[in-house]
Homo-oligomer: 141 residues x 2
DNA sequence: AAATAGTCTAGAATGATTCTAGACTATTGA
DNA sequence: TCAATAGTCTAGAATCATTCTAGACTATTT
């Protein structure tokens, strides 16, 4: 579970993304990626960082998440107005969204298929297809 | 184009939704629905209302949009963190999202199909499946 | 027409996110 | 090795969308 040369690997990922491997970025990267596939908000990650004794400002967490997203290390998922999740799984897949709790859960890409997609409007190309399956618990509805 | 008894029809829709047909609600309803299928933000609708000489507060626009959504007259579409669109088309359909301009365009429901959807997690039922096809212009990218 | 229940409003409050300006740090190259 | 530089970090202010509040107003009921 624990990578043999954890920092070397993380440093390499950052370098390839054109980002200097700073203490903050390294720590945030490992916090996000050492736990498998995750969906975190900036606030959540900030709280985790503080709990792990890393001193980082919330602004840096936001900057870092945006930089990682731009570099393709993360994918941003928008499900509710006013809240962004960052997904450590950047491969082709979709999501269940629990309306009651506001939580996300991956749907493996292979399971779900989108077909008969009409051609994109003239002059544009498809950059991504997002499928959100909103589910509710019959009880708290 | 102009309905024969515009207000009577609008009043009826509101009554059926359990909402009193007030001046503000009637005007906002007609502003939204008299132009065919539309995707508007609260700010946009507020600006339109003011331009049409209707004095409404932004708070009322938000309240009204939320009430209409709860009543099933509108559908809320979230594509970008921090911005909600309200869609006057509540029938089964999906959207193209222009990343460059932030605009939405309907994809008729019949065109696109989602298949092999895994069963929803235990204890939940699917309330809606949203498909967002994000497109970009090769130029401004 | 009076009582009531519901609605509207301006402005304050909230919550997420971005900006700012100065302090700090990784990288470069002599 | 060390200064120059370019990039990064931070706390707090600023911004933006949205919701809340409390009092004034209005549709409905009696």
């Amino acid at each position: 579970m624990i990578p043999a040369r954890p920092y070397a690997f993380a440093i390499d990922r950052l370098r390839k993304a054109g980002l200097r491997p700073t203490r903050q970025r390294l720590a945030l990267l490992r916090l996000m990626f050492d736990g498998g596939d995750r969906h975190v908000t900036a606030e959540q990650l900030h709280a985790e960082a503080l709990a792990a004794k890393l001193r980082v400002s919330l602004a840096t967490v936001y900057n870092t998440l945006n930089q990682f997203t731009a570099a393709g290390l993360l994918r941003e998922v928008v499900v509710e107005a006013g809240r962004s999740y960052f997904d450590t799984n950047t491969s082709d897949h979709h999501h269940f969204f629990f309306e009651a709790s506001g939580r996300l859960q991956d749907i493996p890409g292979a399971d779900l298929k989108v077909s008969d997609l009409p051609p994109p409007p003239a002059g544009t190309t498809v950059s991504r297809v997002d499928v959100i399956v909103r589910v509710k618990s019959p009880d708290n509805n």
